[in-house]
Amino acid sequence: MKRVIALLVTVVLAALVSGASAHELKTAGPYDVLLGFVNEPPVTDTLNGLDLIVRSSADEKPVDNLEKSLDVTIVAPDDSSSRSLPLSAVDGSPGHYTSPFILSQPGVYALRVHGYIGSTQVDVTFRSDEVAPASSITFP
């Protein structure tokens, strides 16, 4: 039973801390834009998603209501395809946006954030962490 409890605690802690690591920070005028994946390190063929945080650089105040003022496009590692990601606000987490996806190709993805924050035009591109094939953690 102790092993089962230890496993459950590990799962819950992993769920709670996921998304807090390996985000890339870029500056757009007076704003900080942080971008990463919901689940890191990322693997293919599992539910993941965009994790986007926008805040004022000066006072770290979160910026809300940007769902329709920013376009986010994800580009496959081999540049063969791209897809626009519709943003939705994360409940109870101001300045925080997400969009779910399942990545099917290992490698590094490009994510372009384009649009406006306030009157500031934004066009920044991020490179994701290496997405590992699901086989690297699949068992048996």
Partner: protein, 157 residues
């Protein structure tokens, strides 16, 4: 470890994992719709939520939005810019708790109580231009959600 303790631990873990799934009052539709261009000034704005909202403890403010003209801008880029300016205005409204000048709404059609559908009355004959509804809703399960709706009254309507 006693079985009852284990049950409590498991229950707490399941509760922790289920937090994001709790019901919130999300806006599913509005009339006029977000981004709509209407020919004649609407008399009211209607909002449909996924959960009932406590109208007395919610905030609905409609304001004109100044959108400088950008030559050669695509319709899509204009939409992105308009929503960004609306978000900026919403920030001011929230900071002032709705006590802003220039409101063009005249209050709720049926204030008080809780409902999934909310109707906001507008001033008569809105001038041509872009308007933004800033809303913050307290749902009956005490969660707060917020958002904006942008619409434009076309000139010559």
């Amino acid at each position: 470890m006693r079985a009852s303790s284990v049950r409590w631990i498991v229950a707490f873990m399941l509760l922790s994992l289920s937090v994001p799934a709790w019901a919130h009052a999300h806006l599913t539709a509005s009339t006029p719709a977000d981004g709509a261009v209407v020919r004649s000034p609407p008399a009211s704005l209607q909002l449909d939520f996924t959960e009932a909202v406590q109208k007395r403890f919610s905030l609905f403010v409609v304001l004109p939005l100044s959108v400088p003209v950008e030559a050669g801008e695509s319709a899509h880029d204009r939409s992105l810019r308009v929503h960004a300016l609306a978000a900026q205005l919403a920030d001011t409204v929230m900071a002032d708790k709705g006590a802003v000048k220039g409101r063009v709404d005249t209050g709720l059609a049926r204030p008080g109580g809780a409902a999934k559908q909310v109707t906001i009355e507008l001033a008569r004959d809105l001038s041509p231009g872009t308007y933004v509804l800033v809303w913050r809703a307290l749902s009956v399960d005490t969660h707060v959600t917020h958002g904006i709706v942008v619409f434009t009254v076309a000139s010559g309507g």
